[in-house]
C-alpha cells in the first residue's frame, strides 16, 4: 500500500472542509472495502479523513420513519430492536451480507459507497472503464458469470455488491446528504447510477458531500410479510448471484401492496416497479407470481457466462413470493 496522510476531525464541518481542501482526499469509516482497494492499488487516496469521531451512529424513531446514522455499524443495525421489529427486511438483508467480523466494522454509509467486486475492476493489469475510463470492459466478452443482466451498457456490465441497499431500495428509503451548502435528501432509488457512458461514477454523491443518515419509512404493513432471499455459490459469506427482497401487505388472500427489488443483477439495486404494479390487488397464487417474475425479467439480457441468471432470477422471485405469502 502506498503511504498517505491521515487526519481525524471531530466535527462534520471540519471533515467536509478537509474533503473540499484536498482533491486527492477521501473519507474512511469502516474501511472494509477501501483498505482492500488501497492494498490492491485500485484506490490511491493521498489523504484519508477518518470520520469515526462524528456523532452519526444513532438509530432512532422519527415521525413516520426510522432514522439510521451513516456511521451505524451493519451489525448494530441488523440487531437493533427497532429494525428487527419494524424493518425485518433490512435486518435480514444485512445479516445475509459479508461475515460477522466485517459487519462489526462496516457502516451504513460505507455499505452504500462500496465498489463493485468485478474481478476486472480489481485487477489493475486488466482493462476496466470503471477503474480507468477509456480502457474498455474486460468483462463484456470475458468471464462474466457474476455480472449484470439489467441496465448494463457496452462500457460496463458490473453489479453493485450490496445486500443492504437492495432492502433499502425496496423500502423506499431516503438518503440524507450534507455539504458546506447545507443538507439535501434524495430518494434511495436515485442514489446509485446505471453505468451508461460514465461507469466510473457509481452514484450521484457529488465531491464535497457526505452521507449523514438514511431515513426509512416506518410502514407497519410491510413488516409482517418480509423476506430477503440470497442465492450464492456457498451457503454463507459470498456475494449474491441473485437476491430478492420482497415485502407484501396481504389482506385475506389479496395482495394490497407489494415491494420487490433484486440484487446481483444490475449496476444498482434493481427495483421491480412494473412487476409490483402487476401484483397489486391480485390474489396470492403461484400463477400470479410466475407472471410477476415474467414481467420483472422483460428487459433482461445475458452476456454468456451469466445467462444462467436469466432462469435463476425469475425462479428466485417466484420462490421468494411463495415463501413470503405462506404458499410454501
Amino acid at each position: 500500500m502506498i503511504n498517505f496522510d491521515y487526519i481525524r476531525p471531530s466535527t462534520q464541518k471540519a471533515a467536509i472542509a478537509a474533503l473540499n481542501k484536498d482533491a486527492t482526499s477521501q473519507f474512511i469509516a469502516g474501511g472494509t472495502n477501501l483498505v482492500d482497494l488501497m492494498k490492491r492499488g485500485v484506490a490511491v487516496p493521498q489523504k484519508l479523513i477518518d470520520i469515526n469521531n462524528l456523532p452519526l451512529k444513532n438509530i432512532e424513531q422519527g415521525k413516520g420513519f426510522i432514522h439510521i446514522g451513516a456511521l451505524a455499524l451493519n451489525s448494530d443495525v441488523a440487531e437493533h430492536e427497532l429494525i428487527t421489529k419494524k424493518l425485518p427486511l433490512l435486518s435480514q438483508a444485512l445479516k445475509a451480507g459479508a461475515s460477522p467480523q466485517l459487519r462489526n466494522m462496516a457502516t451504513v454509509g460505507g455499505n452504500m459507497m462500496q465498489r463493485t467486486r468485478c474481478p476486472y475492476f480489481y485487477d489493475t493489469t486488466m482493462p476496466c472503464n470503471k477503474r480507468q475510463p477509456g480502457t474498455g470492459c474486460g468483462a463484456l466478452k470475458g468471464y462474466n458469470r457474476m455480472h449484470a443482466i439489467f441496465g448494463a451498457s457496452e462500457k460496463c456490465i458490473a453489479v453493485h455488491p450490496s445486500d443492504m441497499c437492495v432492502a433499502l431500495t425496496a423500502l423506499d428509503a431516503t438518503v440524507v446528504i450534507s455539504s458546506n451548502k447545507g443538507d439535501r435528501r434524495i430518494h434511495f432509488g436515485d442514489f446509485h447510477r446505471l453505468p451508461g457512458t460514465t461507469p466510473e461514477k457509481d452514484n450521484n454523491l457529488q465531491r464535497g458531500e457526505m452521507i449523514t443518515a438514511i431515513e426509512v419509512p416506518d410502514n407497519d404493513a410491510f413488516s409482517k410479510n418480509a423476506l430477503y432471499v440470497k442465492i450464492r455459490d456457498r451457503a454463507s459469506y459470498a456475494f449474491a448471484l441473485v437476491s430478492v427482497a420482497a415485502a407484501l401487505d396481504i389482506k385475506g388472500n389479496t395482495i394490497q401492496n407489494v415491494r420487490l427489488a433484486m440484487g446481483g443483477v444490475a449496476h444498482k439495486p434493481w427495483r421491480l416497479t412494473s412487476a409490483e404494479n402487476f401484483l397489486k390487488g391480485k390474489i396470492a397464487s403461484v400463477e400470479n407470481f410466475k407472471q410477476t417474475a415474467a414481467i420483472a425479467m422483460k428487459d433482461a439480457k445475458g452476456n454468456g457466462y451469466n445467462n444462467f441468471k436469466l432462469k435463476l432470477a425469475p425462479n428466485t422471485i417466484v420462490q421468494t413470493l411463495k415463501t413470503v405469502s405462506g404458499l410454501s
Binding site: 491521515y6 482492500d36 484519508l48 467480523q101 466485517l102 466494522m105
Partner: protein
C-alpha cells in the same frame, strides 16, 4: 503439565530461531536492494531518519492489557502492527484481504478483521489477541475445547477461529449448530475441521458461564 511446558519452551525457542533467521535474511536482502542513501543512513545509525521520510503518527493502544505508546505510518494495518512491531504473531496473515478470518481479533470487545483495520484508526482502543486469552498456564475454556474436540489440523486458522468462536458465544449466536455455522462463516478452515470446531463451540456454549 510440566511436559507440556517443556514442549512449549522447546517449540518457542525453535520458533524464535526460525523467525529471527528469516528476519535477518530478509534484512540482508533489503539492504542489498536499498538505495545508497538509505544504506548510508543505516550505517551511520540514522535509520530512524530514513523512517521519518514517511510521516509517522502517534498511537496509544492497549493490547492484551498492556498499554503501548507507539509511532506508526498511517498505512500500517492493525495486523502488521501486532505481528511486526509488538511481535504478537498469533494473529495470522492468511489472505490479507478480509476473506479468510485468520487475523480475527477483538477491538473494544468486538470481533474484527485486523488485516483490514488501519492501526492508526484504533487509537485509544483495547485489543485482545489469541495471546491475551490464557491466564498464565490456564487456557481459556474455548482453547481447551478446541484441543479436546480436535478443532484443528494444521492450526493456521485456529487463532482466528478461537477469537471468532468466543465472540460468537458472547453475541448469543451459538444456540444451534446451524447458527454456529452461519456466524462462524467468516473463518475459513482449509483442512476442514469444521465439524470439530462446531462441537467445541457447542460444548463451551452448553457449559454456560462467562467466557
Amino acid at each position: 503439565m510440566t511436559q507440556e511446558n517443556a514442549c512449549g519452551k522447546d517449540e518457542t525457542s525453535l520458533h524464535h530461531t526460525r523467525r529471527n533467521f528469516l528476519k535477518q535474511s530478509s534484512a540482508l536482502t533489503a539492504l542489498a536492494l536499498a538505495p545508497p542513501s538509505l544504506i548510508n543512513a543505516a550505517g551511520n545509525n540514522l535509520d530512524e531518519k530514513a523512517a521519518e521520510y514517511f510521516e509517522k503518527q502517534s498511537l496509544k493502544i492497549e493490547v492484551n492489557g498492556i498499554r503501548h505508546q507507539l509511532s506508526v505510518e498511517p498505512r500500517v494495518t492493525l495486523l502488521d502492527l501486532l505481528r511486526e512491531q509488538l511481535h504478537l504473531t498469533g494473529s495470522k496473515k492468511g489472505c490479507d484481504y478480509g476473506q479468510c478470518g485468520a487475523c480475527t481479533v477483538h477491538v473494544n470487545g468486538k470481533r474484527v478483521l485486523s488485516c483490514l483495520s488501519l492501526a492508526i484508526m484504533q487509537d485509544s482502543k483495547k485489543v485482545t489477541t489469541i495471546e491475551g486469552l490464557a491466564n498464565g498456564d490456564t487456557l481459556h475454556p474455548m482453547q481447551e475445547a478446541f484441543i479436546k474436540h480436535d478443532g484443528f489440523q494444521c492450526g493456521y486458522c485456529t487463532p482466528g477461529q478461537i477469537m471468532s468462536a468466543i465472540a460468537c458465544v458472547r453475541e448469543g449466536q451459538a444456540n444451534t449448530e446451524d447458527d454456529i455455522r452461519q456466524y462462524m462463516s467468516g473463518n475459513i478452515c482449509r483442512c476442514g475441521a469444521y465439524p470439530n470446531i462446531v462441537d467445541a463451540i457447542m460444548e463451551v456454549k452448553q457449559k454456560g458461564g462467562t467466557i
